[in-house]
Symmetry: C2
Subunit: 199 residues, 2 copies
Amino acid sequence: MTNPPRSPDLRSRLLDAGLELLRNAGVSAVTMRAVAARADVSHAAPGYVFGDRAGLLTAMAERGFDELTAHLSGRGDGPEAGTINSMVEVGMRYLDFERREPEIYRLLFDTPEIRRAEPGVATAGAAAFGVLTRAVPPGIVSPAYGLAPVLAWAVVHGLASLGRTGALDRQFEQTVGRDAAQHALLTWIAHAVTPAPTD
Amino acid sequence: MTNPPRSPDLRSRLLDAGLELLRNAGVSAVTMRAVAARADVSHAAPGYVFGDRAGLLTAMAERGFDELTAHLSGRGDGPEAGTINSMVEVGMRYLDFERREPEIYRLLFDTPEIRRAEPGVATAGAAAFGVLTRAVPPGIVSPAYGLAPVLAWAVVHGLASLGRTGALDRQFEQTVGRDAAQHALLTWIAHAVTPAPTD
DNA sequence: CGTGCGGACTTGACAGTGTCAAGCCATCCG
DNA sequence: CGGATGGCTTGACACTGTCAAGTCCGCACG
């Protein structure tokens, strides 16, 4: 271990470059050579740092999960955790993240190359799920306890995915706006998940 | 229009080859040249037939949606449509399809190259959604009517997607098995969606 | 004050990819 | 019987990910 890196934090510069390419042109534009060029290094530098393209995408996903966690957490001014309102708010933030950063969202959930077992991305993903879990009121889903957060995530994630395909929009336009419909669904689910009082 | 095709239904043979590659090795293995080789034609034949790789994947997705529709429809021996039981059954078939044909499922819902606006794949996708819609009992989701099928699809689709990431399994193992938990969630949602009597 | 060593990248190469222009060749129309 | 037309092939090109070999700089050690 003699040599310090020549350019300071090459790794994070490569990640910046990759995320910018991702945002602007989708995951298919995140090319080893394009990332290298944007970071002003040789075409093989990303391979040296991340091993292979899957490694690069995995590292980017870790950052993406961090951004998702931050977006879900907000600035701390939300309603108290574990209430119906907090669940709805976190759900809406989830959907908002998908609309604001669709390519990052795709990277996190729709990109098979990512190695989800790697500890970095696994814990980052678990952290995002943790925000959601804490926001969900302690609910009962018969006959099994503990499934309310799962159900909540499934609903939110399903709404986000379906929203992208356009299948949702047609249905939504017949009724209310997309936002209002999503909000209504989340509110409804939140009430349904919550056992009895608390309302 | 003078010339008949030399090899009978080259197009469908290419699609067969593509779907086999997809099933065995994922969408990244569906290469123009690999598909061509498997169908015993020149390496540029798929490009000639489908225009480009996105065209090939789109055509494959159309077939995939047909298979999904068939799988959801079953052999016609299910419970009567529009009941709670039918909704649960179709939902479970949806999840079953994802487990049986994970790569096709990914192609349909997680592959951005697909041109979902093309009429073929759009109508095929709408047909699959139609099976789900007809199976859902006429429900009320306050304050907007008509959203029960959307909610049902979101739940099912979200469960399927989350199941793949492994996040679900850990949660499920703490309680029941995966199948049982999914079934419970669907049953619960079906009851919640259905207004009052009918039970 | 060298001197060599190890690690951070670079250079150069290779096989494989999608796409396109040009070509071949059987068939149909005249 | 002779074009011409359209189905598919051949050949080429730019681009991709990956890897072996090389370069060069800073540190440890003599």
